[in-house]
Symmetry: C2
Subunit: 248 residues, 2 copies
């Protein structure tokens, strides 16, 4: 498939990952959010790894273009800023960012033309203090403190999502109309008139003094439904069918 490069993207660096499946899942997670540059430090099962390709579910290009290094030092040599993800704060003189705050910084640094990398440790032990000492800052994903161990690919996708969101401009809510359009008030009023007339004929309004209140309630019910023009036409048909049942 064609990989559409995200602008100003950064490098994901997996440090001593164990299972090929996890590497493939990381590649898929990266590509879901437009990241394509993967580096791997000292993968346990060697490289290339067929299981990584299989688990990437189509993100083959990310897996196949991954670069392998022997050490974190080599994997970060050309980078100007390095972040290290870790499940908790360490007794270390270093700034720790939340995932979202670090994502903002990485987006900005990328925009300034900096080469940035984010380190993820191995499944079992995470990053060592030696690895962390090579990072400019730490990134902690806020989690349930009683269950804070994220699967490797799960940590990568949360990071990638947080980074993607720093530049996403999807409208928060969109009212889909299908092939129709929102009804105007004239269409709504015509429908309400018809409904009320039909209900009058059917003896729905038993007490004249309660009729206005019942009318208001019904109008509220149908107004808040944000009906489309097509839905109102369907509802006209519903009333007609109920009023004048067709014999089959």
């Amino acid at each position: 498939m064609t990989v559409k490069m995200a602008r100003n993207q950064h490098v994901i660096i997996l440090v001593e990952p164990q299972m090929g499946e996890n590497i493939g899942m990381c590649a898929r997670a990266m590509l879901n959010f437009g990241l394509t540059e993967l580096r791997i430090v000292n993968p346990r099962d060697g490289w290339p790894n067929g299981r990584a390709v299989a688990a990437s579910s189509g993100a083959d290009d990310v897996v196949n273009s991954a670069k392998v290094f022997k050490t974190v030092e080599e994997a970060t040599a050309d980078l100007q800023v390095v972040y290290a993800t870790t499940p908790r704060h360490h007794d270390m003189i270093k700034t720790t960012y939340t995932c979202a705050a670090a994502a903002d910084r990485v987006r900005q640094e990328g925009g300034e033309g900096m080469r940035v990398g984010v380190l993820f440790g191995c499944e079992r032990t995470g990053l060592t203090n030696e690895h962390l000492s090579r990072a400019d800052a730490l990134v902690v994903i806020p989690t349930n403190p009683d269950f804070d161990s994220l699967n490797l690919a799960q940590a990568v996708i949360v990071w990638a999502y947080a980074w993607f969101m720093t530049a996403d401009n999807t409208p928060p809510a969109v009212q889909h109309m299908g092939k129709s359009r929102p009804a105007n008030k004239d269409e709504l009023n015509n429908f309400m008139d018809r409904l009320e007339m039909a209900l009058d004929e059917s003896g729905f309004f038993t007490s004249p003094e309660k009729k206005p209140g019942m009318q208001h309630n019904l109008r509220n019910t149908f107004t808040k439904m944000e009906l489309t023009e097509q839905e109102i036409r369907t509802l006209h048909g519903v009333i007609k069918a109920l009023q004048f049942p067709q014999k089959r």
Copy 2:
């Protein structure tokens, strides 16, 4: 393990999931962000499923307390608001929220005491139009449009993270000091004085007219490092060692 219940949490509903591993990974993802209430509609491989427990990596309680239903109708019968996650907009008259916007709504609805559920479709085909018609609104996770297929547990963890973040109050950045504290300016100034004196003695400032500029640059370098009191003590030792090497 003890499961700490998140306040005002909602129900995650997996609809016809195929692999037990994925169900277990979903449970782990949920618990990472404090969600514990899992429902499963018609799991392909039956229930209980040992692979789900194994893949949950300790979130056994979430797996073991999951409730199984035959249909989406039954699984949502006691809920007041239902959201359906889907990779793309549908030709359907329904409001579509981004993941973050829906998470805000679910948090608020939970706070109002509403019972809320979020549907996730099966790995292969997602949710059907019949499933979607039972949801009050759709949720779309913004992704790379060229590669928008998220693994089931990956979709669940992104959702759970987005929901968790609506109530997370972790400070965006924390400067960790280890057992030390930020140096005060007096400590920094003493260090700079010592450094400049040592450099004077070593003949570092070759040209008197350039000396003030070089002093400012050095002061900038050490000031922006945000040194701790302990780091300054170490740096005093570094200067001393360089000036007066000890024979071994």
